[in-house]
Symmetry: C2
């Protein structure tokens, strides 16, 4: 047993957000538009994983990207240079996208023109998991250097995601990362969750992920 | 020039928190107690950097640790096993410590008994930077695998920190990380900021950091 004292502090839930989010999801569904909320720590490789994913899917789908950042444009610039239809959202200090912001960003895309939108949420494993954005599915990216204990520390993130991408598998030799342990910890939080191991650097593992994603889109 | 549209969304500032934080800092100062708010992304190596730091300082200082987590006890367990006086704070979903939580946690330490407390904030580069906790100084840890662009994306974090520790320098060969660029980006946001390069794995670089820290304590 632990000897240290533990303080349990307050929790805050935003019910209005959930109502807006449900409305967005219904509208997306009616339009046949698939919105993927991509969440991860800073530096886990969200942008480079999205680049690889978009490269695999752009021949078959009309794709847009929402880049959410506190104030920078770094990732939107990269996307635009790669020829992807991009909108930059500045949250003005807010640590995650919420349903209102998502609705505002969706209005900027002529939606009859696209069938797949990736939302690159702010780099953070806490707040983005707390806000339902109205996305069709949620995906978390976790990278090998961050460690296999992240599902223990940020459980809500792994509860709300339908899939987890483990990135930077090319760096495995440098870090103690237990693949089996991370899968077990993710499945304990969410038994239905899919887990994909990839390297955005080498391209390894992306086929399984994009195959699964297209299956979800065709459901 | 960019062709993508940019939406500027709302900002929220908590003025009451700042008043409480100032009160905490004044009280700490009167007691000769030095509180360090340590912030970083998930997996940057907060706990292992703190372990190295505490090992170097524990002969000369009476040290305590506050471990802030959403709900896990993983890091507090490690600290306790290392014989460090530890208190676990569960923020109950909140993405960062604030001044109220800090005051509550400080009440758990008999303060005349300690001269140095490390607060390991929740892994996150956004919200912790927005809340003044009342700590004497703020320190950010950034790790090589996260990339040298983080000061561009999370500028507030680097503005509010007196020192930045760049961890995992043992993995330099595996990642494109430009030391000069990261220092330049940090100094542009905060010209007074100190930058230390360390490896919590090998112990390299910790002397300069702890020397600087003790100089700050003796000011």
């Amino acid at each position: 047993m632990s000897n240290f004292r533990t303080l349990e502090l307050h929790i805050d839930v935003n019910a209005a957000n959930d109502v807006i989010a449900s409305g967005i999801r219904k509208e997306l569904d009616e339009k046949g538009l698939f919105l993927i909320n991509v969440m991860a720590s800073p530096g886990a490789g969200k942008t480079s994983c999205l680049m690889r994913t978009i490269d695999k899917l752009r021949d078959r789908h009309k794709i847009g990207v929402m880049e959410a950042d506190i104030e920078a444009d770094v990732d939107a610039d990269k996307m635009e240079k790669a020829g992807v239809r991009t909108i930059q959202v500045h949250t003005g200090g807010e640590c995650a996208m919420d349903a209102d912001m998502t609705a505002a960003a969706l209005r900027e895309f002529p939606s009859d023109d696209l069938d797949l939108i990736f939302m690159e949420n702010i780099g953070n494993l806490v707040c983005p998991a707390e806000n339902d954005t109205g996305a069709t599915i949620n995906v978390a990216i976790l990278s090998i250097p961050e460690g296999d204990d992240k599902p223990l520390k940020y459980p809500l993130m792994f509860k709300v995601c339908q899939a987890v991408i483990i990135n930077k598998i090319d760096t495995r030799d440098y870090f103690d990362f237990d693949d089996d342990a991370v899968v077990r910890r993710i499945k304990r939080l969410n038994p239905e969750s899919e887990v994909f191991f990839v390297s955005a650097k080498t391209g390894e593992g992306f086929d399984k992920w994009t195959d699964w994603l297209e299956t979800q889109m065709n459901k």
